[in-house]
Amino acid sequence: MDKSLSLASKVSEQPRSSKKKITPLGVLGYVVKYSIILLLSVSFILPLYWMAMSALKIPEQVFQIPPIWFPVPARWVNYIEAWQVDEFSLFLFNTIFRYCIPVVIGTVVSNTLVAYSFGRLKWPGRDVLFAICLMTMMIPGQVTMVPVFIIFKHLGWVNSFKPLVIPSFFAGAYNIFLLRQFFRTIPEELSDSARIDGANEFQILAYVILPLVKPALAVVALFSFMGAWNDYMGPLIYINQSKLFPISLGLASLSATLNQVGIKGLAYPYLMAVSTIVTIPIILIFFFAQRTFIEGIALTGMKG
């Protein structure tokens, strides 16, 4: 193995130096490669660009053919008017304070505890339970959906955020797995020396482990926030009163309202304006936490 490696690295120096020569074929390949990537990335971003630009149009621009890709003048007031078509400020409040924040707290706290147990404590039966935990990922949500709905209905929790929030305090296989992966990278000696100093497991978790796994907690917090922000099906099942709508239901119902009225005038600009606003937090999160994202995803796929 070692021999072939050193041989390979020696030999590979030759083609590497010859690559520096600019050949017509090389230039062509270069051009083709970048054209493909540019074309692809434009087509990936164009739908979002179209959405943001359509939000600024006046009725005449909406129906113009060929379509206008950059509306002049831009009608910025569409954003304000669209926001006032329905109670979007209330929907935003519901989403953030009744759904996202409680879910983030529940998810981070519960999964940290459970992942600590599965990842860093030794107890009989642990591995069997962890295997069962991983297997639950295969169970489609539809199987448990009906009985869980019936439970919450009997509890009188329909038309509240409890059915969407409370389960997040009971941890989930995906996040347990993700955090456990992180926890196991921390040397056991750190825990052991804390144990010798008389720390109990809660103290070890809080003072030794947690400061070292902040990035992992960020991944879990981020994903659970986005999960709640983007969730449509959960609220669709449990929330019927428009006073309690999260923003996803608000947007969907705006589309239904505008469809009923008929697609005319500013219907599409309004719809695209609210869509853009709903996307902005995701853009911001992504912009500031891109590393966390990419690493978090790469990590979950690693042991797949």
């Binding site: 193995m1 072939s4 390979a8 030999v11 590979s12 490669k33 990537i37 692809l40 990335s41 990936f44 971003i45 739908p47 979002l48 179209w50 959405m51 359509s54 053919i65 060929p66 379509p67 519960s110 459970v114 147990s117 404590l121 030794k122 009989p124 039966g125 642990r126 935990c133 639950t136 295969m138 489609p140 949500g141 539809q142 199987v143 448990t144 009906v146 009985p147 869980v148 019936i150 439970i151 009971f170 941890a171 497991e201 922000w229 983007n230 449509y232 969907a252 589309s255 697609i263 719809l271 695209m272 869509s275 996307t279 995701i282 992504f286 891109q290 994202f293 990419i294 796929g301 797949g304």
Partner: protein
């Protein structure tokens, strides 16, 4: 001697008991959640699937009637099943291929890789309601951008979502657009392929295709499997995008398993029938996953021990 032994044993078991107590205490959120939201629902869902239950009156046991109805007499289900298989198969395979090809492109020597990676990833995290609104508008036959361009070029318009033939391919296309998660996984695994392998292959006279087929593909095959398995599990349950964009139409062309199930459960309040459908869905997912893993022995390469 015997006393010492017994003492020793008792001491170990006491210590173990303590460890067990602490372990269970920390794991208790999941254990309780598992009982509340998985074990109990699984059992009661199985029971409901043998009953007629509309939430108003108590469930009535009717044996296998729900299953018989779904599989043999339900006129909708004859459409729903092929719809679902078509949609899941093409969504999963085509978006896996798209994700892989983009990752492969980005893994070459390229200026601004993080920038392009961000662009290709971002669609995957756009809220599903926004995806539906945006694509619904883009693909609209009268007002959508794509058809406006076609009209300007005096080409025939494409009735994407309003045509029974094109509705499913349109949804598949949107899923390909949102393949970012798979792309990031592929890119990470492509970057982990040891360079020495390629260099050794060059020494042996391998061309680009050889390198791709005999090194790249085997080395990322575990990620291909991971993407296919998660893709199928997710695909069978996909609800929000078709529900928002087509609502199952036109002419039931996009009435998929998850939509049909939701409709039965929460629109017609047929909880028993919906539970039976859910179990059929579960069985389908298990069969697909099993088949994937079974064939994977032939094409997935789990590196040799001496690496890493």
């Amino acid at each position: 001697m015997t006393l010492a032994q017994r003492l020793k044993i008792r001491r170990i078991s006491a210590k173990e008991r303590r460890q067990l107590a602490i372990g269970l205490l920390f794991a208790s959120p999941w254990i309780l959640g598992f009982l509340f939201w998985t074990v109990y629902p699984l059992i009661s869902s199985l029971y409901y699937s043998f009953t007629r239950y509309d939430l108003l009156r108590p469930p009535v046991f009717i044996g296998l009637q729900n299953y018989k109805e779904i599989l043999f007499t339900d006129p909708h289900f004859k459409v729903v099943l092929p719809n679902t298989l078509y949609y899941v198969f093409f969504s999963v395979t085509l978006s896996t291929i798209t994700a892989f090809l983009i990752a492969y492109l980005l893994n070459t020597k390229i200026v601004g890789r993080p920038f392009f990676r961000a662009i290709f990833f971002f669609p995957a995290i756009v809220p599903i309601t926004v995806v539906a609104m945006m694509w619904g508008y883009l693909l609209n036959p009268q007002y959508g951008a794509i058809n406006a361009v076609l009209r300007a070029l005096e080409l025939p318009i494409i009735p994407f979502l309003s045509s029974p033939d094109l509705a499913k391919p349109s949804l598949v296309m949107i899923n390909m657009w949102a393949c970012g998660y798979g792309m990031v996984l592929f890119l990470a695994s492509l970057q982990d392929v040891p360079r020495e392998l390629y260099e050794a292959a060059i020494v042996d006279g391998a061309n680009e295709f050889h390198k791709f087929w005999f090194i790249t593909i085997p080395m990322v095959s575990p990620v291909i499997l991971f993407n296919l398995v998660t893709g199928f599990i997710w695909g069978f349950q996909d609800f929000s995008l078709p529900w928002l964009l087509t609502g199952g139409g036109p002419n039931e062309a996009t009435e998929f398993f998850a939509l049909h199930l939701f409709r039965n459960a929460f629109r017609y309040l047929r909880m028993g029938k919906a539970s039976a459908m859910a179990w059929l869905l579960f069985v389908m997912i298990i069969i697909f996953t099993y088949l994937l893993f079974k064939t994977s022995a032939r094409w997935v390469y789990y590196g040799s021990e001496d690496r890493k």
